[in-house]
């Protein structure tokens, strides 16, 4: 197994990055740091996909000199998927940051624990 991981070291790095992002998302109390963790997860997936699209010894999928032989080009599909993913990631990040601004407006903090406690206090009033 370790031998396989060593030959696939880029994908392994991507998966470990995914774990780091997930841990940040789960452990950090600050909402901004949670968003950073989310972004790390997204980036790791992009790295994984682009690494999967690579074929050793071949060039970028741009047809040059009219050569349309498959032997010369890498797989363009993961690149297209990653392009879509990046745009979606930007959109989600922007929306999450706007929600954070609103949360700060209402609670005066971005700390999840404090927000939870405030909610619990409100609920205990009822």
């Amino acid at each position: 197994m370790l031998e396989a991981l060593r030959s696939n070291y880029i994908e392994a790095t991507a998966l470990i990055l995914f774990g780091i992002g997930l841990a940040t998302l789960l452990w950090e109390k600050n909402l901004i740091k949670k968003i950073i963790g989310f972004n790390i997860m997204e980036t790791s997936i992009f790295l994984f996909l682009t690494a999967k699209g690579y074929i050793a010894g071949r060039g970028a999928p741009i047809i040059t000199d009219g050569i349309t032989d498959v032997e010369y080009y890498i797989n363009p599909l993961p690149s297209a998927i990653v392009l879509t993913g990046i745009v979606i990631a930007v959109s989600i990040t922007a929306f999450m940051l706007a929600l954070c601004l609103k949360i700060y407006d209402i609670y005066g903090t971005l700390d999840m624990d404090k927000i939870t406690v405030m909610d619990m206090a409100e609920r205990s009033e009822d």
Binding site: L5, E11, K52, I55, A56, T64, L77, D111, K114
Partner: protein
Amino acid sequence: MPEAKNDKNKFDKFVNWVNADEDISSREEENIADDDNDNRNDKSRDHFDNDSPSICDRLEPEDFHMGVVDEEFDYSEMFGDDSGRIDQDQAAALAENSARRVVLRKGVRDRFRTTQVFFTLVSVLLTIGIVGVLLLALSQMPQFGDPASPTNNEVYERYVQRGVEDTGATNIVAAIILDYRAFDTLGEAFVLFTALIGVIMLVRTSCGSQFILVERTQPLMLRFMIMLISPFILIYGIYILLNGHLTPGGGFSGGAILGSALSLYAISFGAQKVRTLLSFKTLLISISIALLFYAIVKGYSFVIGASGLSSGIPLGTPGNLFSGGLIVPLNISVGIVVAFTVYGLYALFSEGEV
């Protein structure tokens, strides 16, 4: 309530502040009164009446204590005094007096702490488990760069072999995202537009400048340099945009460069300068027209193509700037959407106004 805590939360209450001349204590009373008003009847917006200034009134810089970093999470402060047990009514009364002061009963406090410990343990196990399973799956996957990998199947071969013939674009990625799978890209552009609308709804104030109250003036040197390089950034962005079907690039990357050039200009010269050229209305109308253009043109080409008719759009000579059929106009419309969205997001987050 400690004074420092009050200071920190001035930001979200400055809306209700009345006069810069008054001292802090009277301000705090005003705030609490306004808060109570809000709690009782959300619809009565008394503090927007004529005698009290509206949200739009500019405050002096010294009124504005923004950017105070959240200090260490202090449990004893948050949960109240440990020695005396505070009952529910008292807690409710205190919570009503000050929205920031939260006092919990002992039972609730213990439950909260237990939940936290439990949650930390679960998250550790979850992360380790997920990464372990993923690495285990990875060890069964084909090698990095293996041409015989099952992902390199006939779909990829078809795109590479017939891409130029079908679309006229030498960049196969551009051919995929703007010709073969163009409707997915339309959805992508709509996601970007929806995110911008969401941010506008959440952040934009009717009169703007909620977050940055002081007009920032940048150093002369910076303004000079931005003036010098921003035309080149714009030209580079347009180059990337127009050559998307020939070289790496296209609407998304070129649009991002154009949007960052606009943001850079707004940073150094103030958003007011950009706003004279690109008002909120112009921005939204341009994005909408670009999206509509994309939908109509690509919808036409898809309907005609699915019916087996000739769309009448010349593909041109592959490798020329004017080739690739619809890819160049679609790249331009996507570029407009991305550039204006990037600039709009920057302006909304920094000024609260496009």
